[in-house]
Structure formats: C-alpha cells, structure tokens
C-alpha cells in the first residue's frame, strides 16, 4: 500500500451526536448521552479508515451519522463529490441527501436481519436500481446478474430467498446490494463479526478486491483489532465518544501513544500459545456515556493517570511521528505496541 497523498472523499469535522435522556412519565429531559462528542477525521479516496473501540464508544453512531440515519447535534460531514464539490451531509436537503445516499452505502453486521426474508435475491439487489435509476425488465436483470457475479455468487441464485443462503453468502448479497448504485464510500459496520472464521477471510478478500477494482473507500467499523489491522490504511481508536488516537495503522499498532490503545492491543487473545507476555488487564469497565468521568474519560482505568487527567480533557494533538493522540502524557510515556505485548 503506497503512501502517496490522495484526495479526501469524506471529511468529518467536530461531529457531535447527543441524545437527550428522559425520565418519568412526561419524559422530562434529565440529561444527555454524548454518544459522539467532537470527532474529526478524513477518509481519502480509495482508502480504508478503521474505526475501533468497545461497545458504547460511539463507533456505530458515527456510521449512522454519515448515512444521516441520525441528524448530528453539531459538526459537519463533507462528502467531496467529483462533480458537485463538497456536500454537507448534515445540512443536505432531501434531494441532495437522496443523491449522497447513492454514493454512500452501508453494510451491516448481521446478514440475517439486514435482508428481507420475503424478497428474492433479484428483488433485494435490484431494489436500489429500481428506485433510484428506474431500471426494470432485462436491464435490471442483467445488472443484478453482473453484481452477483462480482461478489462471487452464482446467477442461478436470482430467484431464491435469503433463507437459502449461509451467513457468508448473505453478506455477499448485502455487499452486492451496497454496490448496486456504484457508491464511492461504503460504511461497513462490523461486516465480518457475525461470520465464521473460515468465511471471514473470504469476505475480507472480497472487500479488498472490490476496493482495488472500483477505487472504493471504506469506513470499516469493527472491534476485532486483527481484522482492522489487516484491512485498514489508517485507524482511529474511540473511547466514550471521542477519538483518543488516530494515524497510519502500522504506527498506531506498533507504537501506540495512548494507554488505552496499548491496553486494547494487549488484551487481544493471540493465537500463539508459547507467547509469554505480561498482559495489561484494565480494571473496571467502559463508563456509561450518559455519565462519563471528568477530565480524560479513560483516567479511572489508566495506570498512568495523574491529577491533571481528572480535571482537564486532553485534546487530539499531532505527535512527531505523524499520528495524533489525546493524552496529556503522550510525549513522556513509552507504551508497548503489538511487538511487545
């Protein structure tokens, strides 16, 4: 993978998604859940950004905001269209949004619940084409056949229903549907987590082939660090609604600068029984985003925390080696990366 500068496809600037929380019979507003609290990143054309973090960190919410499934509380999400220039997804009117949603598609985690069991393959994969491009008859059929071939399914599958397919095949159908409108960006939310080990590899290979073939960009949301390392050019680590570390994948994994990233890497069970390492076991659990700790949200679990961490929220700052980290002590800490843990 080359490192030549590329044009941005999607720019997220200070995105915030706060959900009000109600209580009591009248749903009196009692607080907010800051699911996403001021994150910024850029996805270049033809590249993959991996978004990692544990459940509740806001990674899925980020994906939904990009699809405008949620209307963000604040911030901008710019989709850089080659013909129409930058379009702000947060402010887009209905027509613009309909256009953007053709260019940005989504693949979900569970291929069992993301396909309508009462529709045939042709209807599922063809629906976006029918609705958005008005295709019908032989033209529609030909395009669906083409898409099925691209994702490695046999065209004889056209008239079958989802239940006739295995998990891996269903995920191929979901990918075929996502590809149907020739998108530029695919938001893939845990696309291989529900699949068997032997099927994960097939699906990851398919995603990489499609990227090469169509110049696709991916926002690859996942909790499995080895999968993210395999597929991502850049990676962003989220914790309680914020990005704590971001940069080229190899730098973040080899020389993490945030204690959370380092602990996360160390926690992954590794397929190597002879490995003798001192694993960093984090105490406690991910805090509730409705009531995050003061200062740095990670400080109650951080073994390097000092008084300053309890009061002052660290901002994401560039380090010398080209990645960015939100930690007050990023410069003084020497943390183990995947080589050492």
């Amino acid at each position: 993978m080359s490192t030549s500068p590329t044009t941005p496809l999607l720019t997220v600037e200070d995105l915030r998604m706060h959900h009000p929380v109600g209580a009591g019979m009248m749903q009196r507003r009692t607080g907010v859940v800051k699911a996403v609290d001021g994150i910024s990143f850029t996805i270049p054309t033809g590249r993959t950004l991996g978004l990692v973090g544990e459940s509740g960190c806001g990674k899925t919410t980020t994906g939904h905001c990009i699809m405008r499934g949620y209307t963000p509380t604040a911030g901008r999400i710019l989709f850089h269209d080659p013909n129409r220039g930058p379009l702000d997804i947060c402010q887009a009117d209905r027509r613009t949004l309909a256009y953007i949603r053709q260019k940005v598609q989504m693949v979900f985690q569970d291929p069992y619940s993301s396909l309508n069991p009462r529709m045939t393959v042709q209807e599922i994969v063809g629906e976006p084409l029918r609705v958005n491009q008005g295709l019908s008859g032989p033209a529609l059929r030909a395009r669906v056949e083409e898409l099925l071939t691209v994702v490695g399914l046999h065209v004889s599958a056209m008239n079958r229903f989802p239940h006739a397919f295995s998990g891996g095949q269903r995920q191929r159908l979901v990918i075929a549907r996502a590809l149907s409108l020739r998108p530029a960006l695919i938001v893939a939310d845990e696309p291989v987590s529900a699949l068997d080990v032997s099927i994960q590899a097939q699906t990851l290979n398919l995603l990489q082939d499609l990227q090469e073939r169509y110049g696709l960009s991916y926002l690859f949301i996942a909790h499995d660090l080895s999968v993210v390392e395999h597929i991502s050019d850049e990676v962003a680590v989220m914790y309680v609604g914020r990005i704590v570390e971001m940069g080229p994948t190899h730098q973040v994994f080899d020389t993490p600068r945030h204690p959370y990233t380092s602990a996360l890497l160390s926690a992954v069970p590794r397929p190597n029984p002879s490995r003798t390492h001192q694993r960093i076991i984090l105490q406690g659990e991910v805090p509730n985003p409705a009531n995050p700790p003061s200062g740095c949200a990670f400080h109650p679990r951080c073994r390097h925390a000092e008084d300053r961490c309890r009061h002052e929220i660290p901002v994401l700052q560039a380090t010398g080696d080209g990645h960015r980290v939100a930690c007050h002590f990023a410069d003084s800490l020497s943390l183990p990366g995947i080589g050492q843990v």
Binding site: E54, S55, S198, N205, Q208, H223, S226, R270, P271, P273
Partner: protein, 344 residues
C-alpha cells in the same frame, strides 16, 4: 477406550447425537471420543454447526427432543464409582447431583441465561440450596463469598441487584459464580467471552484461569476463536461437522497442524503484527449443512489435499501418531495402499 488412567475425570466414548427433524435427521455429533483430565483444560475448537455446543450440552444431558443421544458413553469418574451419564434416567437424583454439583456450565450470552426477575443473589443461592445442605445464613455467606471471588465489587450489594442493572462483563461474572458455587470438578464453558468486549474478555479469561488454579477444576472450553484457545487450553480437539478431525496439544496445534482443515483455519485468520498486505488464505466453499453431510471425508469438498476416488468414497478413521496426536485424514493413514504419507 474403556481403560482409563486415574487422572481422567470424564471420558466420552463414541458419542452420537442426532436431531430428528421434519427435514430429516441431523447428525450433529457423530462418533466423538475424548477424555478430560482432572484439573486440565480441554479446548473444543470449531465453527458454527460443527457440534461443539451440542457435545457440551450432551455432557449434562441437556439435549431436548427432537435431539437424542443415540449411542455412546459419557463416563464420569469424579464420584466413588464410575457413572455413565447416558444410562442414567433423566430425572435420577444422581444425575441431578452431577448436573450443577459436579459438572457446571456457563454460556455465551449472559443476559439470556440469567433470569431477569430474580436478583443475582437469589440465583446464586438457588444453586447452593439445591446442592448443599446448609442453613440459609450459611448459604448467604457462601454466595457473597462466591460473588467476591469472581471479582465483583461490593458483593453484598450485588446480591440485591437484578441482571439488567449489571453490565455484560458483570453478568458473566455472576454466571460464573452460580456455576462455581458448589465447587464443581468440571466446568463446561461454551464461548463464554464471545459476546464481550476485548478488555472485558481479557478480564474473564484471567478470572477463569485464577479460579481453575484455586478450585482445582477441569474446564471444557468450547470456542471458535484460535486466540482464546491458545490462552486457555492445554489440549485441543478440532471438530468439523460432528466429528473430531484432530486431537493435539496446544503447542503442536499452532506449530504443526495436521489436518488440512486445521491448517486452512490457521492460515485464514488475520494475525496482529503480520501486516504483509497479502490476501488471506480463505477456505473455499462453505460448511455443509449437518443435514446433508458429504460422503467419505466430510471435509473433502473444501480440502486442498483432496484425493479423488479415496476421500469422496471412504471415510477416514482416526490415526494416532507416534507422539500421541490423533488425526482423521487419509494423508496420515499408511495402511492404505497408494496413500502418500506426509510424515515420512
């Protein structure tokens, strides 16, 4: 396989579990034999549908119709006399004593395996009261001790909480406390960390290792995750479509996998720190439905070493190598003329 040494706690011999459905008979477990040693961890590795969970459930006789244990023996050596769990009537007091008292089980999804209308304390107490003849006050103390032992903060308070008030990791700890309340000799852990976040998973795996040392219990650890099995198990059986295709110690599993399926599985996973930009070596095809098992060797339609005329016609038998490892593949069967032997 009837002879066993004193160190074995449970031996399974030629276990067959079938599900008789309207669509036909599903042979979920098809002639599985293994032994769990006292205080040891035996890993069961396999993908969905390979029969690993059904095997676990069989050991507690928790197979419900249309499923049935068709034949085989599950001999428990933990009591004064040998006990074949398959032969025990399903409501026998002895079986009930073993189930939960001698052999306990924890599951993948801690939310669905705890009862939402009882407090965590009630559920631990239930296990203690059922199996041990102790006073209410003593049972309460034991439950609090157990909740503390599994690393829950303020166990007195946890006794009064309901499952929905606890996080996923804490629920899994409560479930472990219930399972271990009566100090079983064998714990069946069926994907206990699959639903958990990675930092919580690390905590639970460490907890299980600590408790194993502490309580001197054996663990049958069922998982699909090669990383988790490397951390937990000393010996591993690899299952594919209801059969054990390989039985090995944990080091050899990773250093020198024998069966083509095991080898393919190891090559197909992305590994941290090996960023070579290469494509993954995916296994071709999909796992066949257990209702429609291929003839001959069940792995042959996906096998890179497939030998036409042999693998698709004859079923391989388990071969024991000189170092004690076992593999069910013709590649290692030197009795069969014309078969090349990779070992030589």
């Amino acid at each position: 396989m009837s002879a066993h040494d004193a160190s074995s706690l449970l031996s399974v011999e030629d276990l067959h579990v079938h599900f008789h459905t309207e669509q036909g008979t599903v042979q979920a477990v098809n002639g599985v034999s293994f032994t769990v040693g006292r205080g040891q961890t035996l890993g069961v590795l396999g993908e969905s549908g390979c029969g690993k969970s059904v095997t676990g459930f069989s050991l507690l006789r928790l197979i419900r119709p249309p499923g049935r244990i068709e034949r085989g023996r599950i001999v428990y050596h933990g009591l004064d006399t040998e006990l074949d769990l398959v032969q025990e009537p399903s409501r026998s007091p002895l079986l009930r004593q073993v189930r939960g008292g001698e052999i306990a089980m924890i599951f993948q999804e801690p939310m669905t395996s705890l009862d939402p209308v009882y407090t965590a304390g009630n559920q631990v107490l239930e296990a203690i009261n059922y199996h041990l003849d102790v006073s209410q006050a003593a049972a309460w103390d034991m439950a609090v001790t157990m909740l503390g032992k599994v690393g829950l903060p303020e166990p007195q308070r946890i006794m009064h909480t309901y499952p929905h008030q606890l996080s996923g990791g804490m629920r899994q700890r409560v479930m472990i406390a219930i399972a271990l309340a009566c100090h079983p000799q064998l714990l069946i852990a069926d994907e206990p960390t699959t639903a958990l976040d990675v930092t919580t998973e690390a905590q639970i795996l460490e907890l299980l290792q600590e408790l194993q040392t502490d309580l001197q219990m054996a663990i049958l650890f069922i998982t699909h995750d090669l990383g988790v099995i490397a951390e937990m198990a000393q010996e591993v059986i690899v299952m594919y479509l209801g059969e054990i295709v390989e039985r090995t110690d944990i080091e050899s599993l990773f250093a020198e996998p024998l069966h083509p399926y095991t080898r393919a599985l190891l090559e197909s996973i992305p590994r941290l720190g090996t960023r070579d930009g290469k494509r993954l070596q995916a296994i071709e095809g999909v796992v066949p439905s257990p209702a429609d098992i291929p003839l001959g060797c069940t792995f042959h339609p996906r096998c890179p070493d497939f030998m036409p005329g042999l693998c698709d016609v004859h079923a391989p038998t388990p071969q024991t190598l000189t170092d004690g490892r076992q593999v069910q593949c013709f590649l290692y069967d030197d009795q069969r003329p014309g078969v090349r032997n990779l070992q030589s």
